[in-house]
Amino acid sequence: MMLRVICLALASLLPSVALAHNVITSVFPSGQAIEGEVGFSNGDMAGDLLIEVFDDAGAKLGETRTDADGFFLFTPEQPVTHVFRGDLGAGHLAEVTMAADEVALILGTAPKSAPVTTGQTSATLNASASAAGLSDQARAEIATMLRTELRPLRQELTAYRNSSDLQSILGGIGYIFGLFGVGFYLAARRKLEG
């Protein structure tokens, strides 16, 4: 009876709480900067977290903090691989890498000095926008709007990728029973031989 009650309670809990507890991190170009987000797969975002930025050799490039919604901005200065790392404590580590060529695209292709090349960058990046007759300001506003619109979608997508459905739960239990069944078989055979 008690067991049945416990089982029922567990079963009723499962669908709503069957969420993994993983750290989700992503970075993407955002105008002249790199925007990123850090959070847990259950939808909690990591607010006010120190994000350290390293290159691929491990040298520190700088640091930034996440806002209350787990978003951070970092303006790259060199077209090298950027590794963003945040320690959420208790063994949760957020780490995400943006490849050198992506960073170079943000900065413009010339690697020497960033500020000089910005004009050239925006020229290539804005080709389509200026063709449509949009001012830089309107373009920036549209970009911001698009990012805001896409944000929930992106979050949902990552959460979905990290969610665990009933099939995999049942599959896992099946694997466990199968494995212990094989173990039982081997142990029984050895016992019969002996």
Binding site: M2, L3, I6, L10, L13, L14, V17, A18, L19, A20, H21, N22, V23, F40, N42, D44, G89, A90, G91, H92, L93, E95, N162, S164, S168, I169, G171, G172, I173, Y175, I176, F177, L179, F180, G181, G183, F184, A187, A188, K191
Partner: protein
Amino acid sequence: MHIVDGALSNPVVIGGAVAAVGGLALGLRSLPLERIPAAGVLSASFFVASLIHVPIGPSSVHLILNGLAGLVLGWAAFPALFVGLLLQAVFFGFGGLTVLGVNTVNIALPAVLVGMAIRPLLARGSPLYGAIWGGIGGGLAIAATTLAVAFSLMLSGDEFVVAAKLVFFAHIPVMGIEAVLTGAAIFLARRVKPELFIDVKGRLA
């Protein structure tokens, strides 16, 4: 509770893997034929338990149920919990494959120690007496696991006290819930299958 890939330094990961292999070998040797089904069931409940989240403030923690495995299985909790952890890593991405050894030791070793300390008390007295000791064991196993997690983080450079406080306090509600669950499970087992806690001499550590 699961430490993820990349959070620990290499020596800690390797040390954990070696310790886990040792524990597994010991556990498999002390797993008699008639205990294998029990180990399978406990492994499966451990596998599912981590999907049950307890919301706490801004974050949430999940159940672990390692204490129960340790109380029933002794050293054999090592293989049972290892299998559960392996499948959690593969299916849900909890923890990771490189830190599997460390996670196994962090979760299974406290379970085994609690089992060794409290198991003899479970068969004594009334079922209720056994259940109370079972509850204490269930809570203790979680507490010890948080300390083990903090210890592995410390070996990798984190400040022990900070890490320990963070993990320990976040898991106080889990300790309470697991104490009740473990106590209930032990109570039930004492009522319907009391021989579960009587060791065949020399078979179970």
